[in-house]
């Protein structure tokens, strides 16, 4: 049961190596009445096929959608940023894809999407950073905090690759250190 009205309008989850296990566990247990969309920014190879949405769709009846340019985000749906594009927010429900230079050796870059969303959603954004092997996302989390949003970081001790969450924990004034098994429940309580 939800204990309070949530102001959350968007959750962005960023991750790299080792993050899919956490994402899969979350998707299996998440309530299907979210009052906001979830956007997944997961590093993958430039030429990756669009198999990830198909795979993740098999764990939920919520729609899992690979974002296209100008996709309009809807509540209670899960979106995946396609390989080889940055995701930028134009408004609260309109996004664009961008193929400009890689950031932190990454495209999509978690930083790019965190920063873009922070400017538009302010305190109503939650940025989540999971397991990964580089520091992409850390600067974006700082920007989310600067714009009064909330920052959740996977406990590095539980991360398959702890570099990314370790960097974030060391540099960002986070709100929550999350255990993978608790992520769905934390979202369900919003």
């Amino acid at each position: 049961m939800k204990t309070q009205m949530s102001n959350t309008e968007l959750i962005i989850i960023g991750g790299s190596a080792g993050s899919l296990q956490v994402i899969m566990e979350m998707i299996k247990k998440i309530d299907e009445n979210m009052n906001f969309p979830i956007v997944l920014v997961v590093h993958r190879k430039a030429y990756s096929t669009s198999i990830l949405p198909t795979l993740l769709q098999q764990f939920t009846s919520m729609k899992v959608i690979e974002i296209e340019d100008k996709t309009e985000l809807q509540n209670n749906e899960i979106y995946i940023v396609p390989a080889d594009y940055h995701l930028l927010f134009e408004s609260k429900n309109t996004v664009s894809l961008d193929s400009s230079e890689k950031m932190n050796y990454s495209r999509p870059s978690i930083d790019v999407t965190f920063k873009s969303a922070a400017e538009i959603f302010g305190e109503n954004l939650i940025g989540v950073l999971l397991s990964g092997a580089n520091a992409d996302g850390v600067e974006g989390l700082k920007y989310i905090k600067k714009n009064k949003g909330k920052v959740w970081i996977q406990n590095p001790e539980t991360a398959e690759v702890d570099y990314m969450p370790k960097q974030a924990v060391g540099q960002v004034d986070y709100d929550l250190l999350i255990e993978p098994r608790d992520l769905a429940e934390l979202i369900n309580q919003l």
Binding site: L20, Q21, S48, T49, S50, I51, T54, Q58
Partner: protein, 121 residues
Amino acid sequence: MNKKKILIFDDDKVILEVISIIFEEGGYDVEISETSHDIIQKVSAFQPDVILMDNWIPNIGGVEATKLLKSHEEYKNIPVIYVTANNDIVALAASAQADDYVAKPFNLDDLEEKVAKHIKD
């Protein structure tokens, strides 16, 4: 009881990560490889019960890698399930002498079912 072993060749880390999780949760012992380099040594070291082989696996490709395995006296009987998004999947699997095939993007339940079918008790 010893865990059944599955060796997965695919150059897509996303696929390797997701399939590994699924099969590990299903009680399998999983080994992965992003290349077919040293395939015989990898099979020799892990002794899999079944192999999933991607068509575009770097080094020599899925067809040649499977043929190599199927020409090896000791390992030719290990079932190889060929995995590809290519429309010519039936011909490719036959050319590789694979035992079965699964088209990408696959349904995870179907994949598990196919793997189970080829693993001997």
